[in-house]
Symmetry: C2
């Protein structure tokens, strides 16, 4: 059995019902919108976010979820989908999960509006049902994600970026939404418990590991066996490169900065940069930091009694680190 199927097993029923509810949550009076959202739900991703919601909820409650859990998962997925639709507009991407993106099929104007529509539908689902505690978790995530993306634009191309700023960027732009999933799952079943904050921290740590893994793909062999080097080409400073910059001789540093700044369109030079970062231990360091975030996350889980849900969360943590795509 594939690891993702193994993870889904203890929440199989919930995930099935969730899909129906998620589909319903996007309905509109406007026919064009229904055509577009139909296209979206039929090209769904791995659904990692609702999985985190249901697994944490069931681990905390001992196996039961409620309507708040379903609504929370729907809101998160609506907002995540809205973000992806907007991302494709801003990055001018024509593809998403192997299919055409919304902006490619229906143009930018419609894509921006569809994103806004999905966002407001998500918020209304919480408001109409009085899920104000869940709504707060979600709105903080929305603000942090947009701030994180903007922080990245402001800082990530600066050659003097520090490791701390790198962590702040990935915490805001990626970890905050996974943190929201886990704390929302907990909050949906135990509104006033200590678990909401503990699970937020757990999700944040996983999210940090997840993004470091993502950034490592740029330097490691991809599915067809070659590192992509896209981040280097875009002068995006991620952990392996930041480490190498801070841990090399003066003349090497000069060469590295010059390579990233002035020769990042030169394929051969990009390859050399990748090799240099590897040789300086940038990849090993990033992997070590990723493993530390994983350990901290598992330490939080250790406080909870054994259950199939906890086991699945451990699998999920390992999947984040070991995934190939």
């Amino acid at each position: 059995m594939k690891i993702t199927e193994q993870i889904k097993q203890p929440i199989a029923q919930e995930m099935e019902l969730f899909e129906k509810k998620f589909r319903d949550s996007m309905s509109s009076k406007v026919a064009l919108l229904n055509r577009i959202t139909y296209y979206i739900v039929n090209r769904k991703g791995k659904q990692m976010r609702p999985m985190f919601v249901f697994l944490t909820a069931k681990m905390i409650s001992g196996g039961t979820v409620n309507e708040r859990t379903y609504r929370g998962a729907s809101v998160i997925e609506l907002i995540h989908t809205a973000t992806l639709v907007h991302d494709d507009v801003v990055d001018d991407s024509n593809r998403r999960r192997g299919f055409f993106s919304i902006n490619a099929l229906w143009k930018n104007k419609i894509a921006v509006l569809v994103g806004d529509f999905l966002l407001s539908k998500g918020l209304l689902l919480s408001i109409d049902n009085g899920d104000f505690d869940l709504l707060r978790i979600i709105s903080v995530a929305v603000r942090e994600m947009s701030e994180g993306e903007l922080l990245q634009i402001e800082k990530a191309r600066r050659l003097d970026i520090t490791e701390d700023i790198y962590y702040e960027i990935i915490r805001q732009k990626t970890a905050t939404l996974i943190a929201a999933c886990c704390s929302l799952g907990a909050c949906s079943v135990e509104p006033n418990g200590v678990h909401t904050e503990k699970m937020r921290k757990f999700g944040e740590l996983i999210g940090m590991a997840f993004q470091i893994k993502d950034d490592l793909f740029d330097y490691t062999d991809d599915a067809i066996g070659k590192p992509t080097g896209i981040d280097i080409k875009e002068q995006k400073m991620t952990l392996p490169l930041i480490y190498a910059l801070n841990n090399c001789a003066r003349d090497e540093k000069k060469w590295l900065i010059n390579s990233v700044k002035n020769h990042n369109k030169d394929k051969k030079r990009v390859k050399e940069v990748i090799a240099f970062v590897k040789q300086k231990g940038g990849l090993a360091y990033a992997e070590q930091r990723m493993a530390q975030f994983r350990e901290e996350a598992l330490l939080i889980l250790a406080d909870y009694p054994s259950s199939v849900y906890k086991d699945a969360l451990v699998l999920m943590v390992n999947y984040v680190i070991e995934r190939k795509i």
Copy 2:
């Protein structure tokens, strides 16, 4: 004294304090964001929306507003600003209020993210203060606005568009936000009264008149003395044209449809269409419908005792109809 200054007089103090609070509501840890929002607040528009909030609140309460009124006005203005920033991206506009637009100065990617940030800041301002009744009013408006824009994209270029669909489009895309301003103003001072719904209806009627006026500008002389005809060039069907289409002979209709469909880039033909719509009474009809919406709005105000705030709202209604830009 200019009419807008006359309208602002009874809420001068509130508008001054509002500006400060609105400015504060946009603050962020990200320096780039603060630079952009500083640019935005220094190029403010007519501030019609907060004016509606404060005038309705003071008319209902007899002259006092509270912190909820200020927060509500800020949220509305944050969301309105977010919408404008996104609009300029989708319409690829370089200009806004005579200055460069955000996308022109900082590119599309940043503009979409700034819009998302402003939206989430608005929502958090309501959530953090427990203004859930106000939040509901606002979220419905956000959903209706995006649906209205999408409905317009779907239907407004169809040559068989009905008058009813036209009203539905302008109700959703324009009237709904002015309706939200007025009902929010009322709700901020009298949470459980009948005024919230009455003021929502009042705002909706004004919003309808406002958009018909906007659509009329395409056919009437603008500031430099010429009708723009932009809607015709974009094959956007608005009330004057819809009326003319439904009230002319068969061969005339054929000519009109052919003109809009196949010759809408031909300046001479566009001029002929404008003249034809005028001659068929399309403008007179649209003005008459606009006047009816105005009358209905004033009828709602008639239920309230005289006050300087009510007088200012009447001036506002007239300004909507009589404005030159």
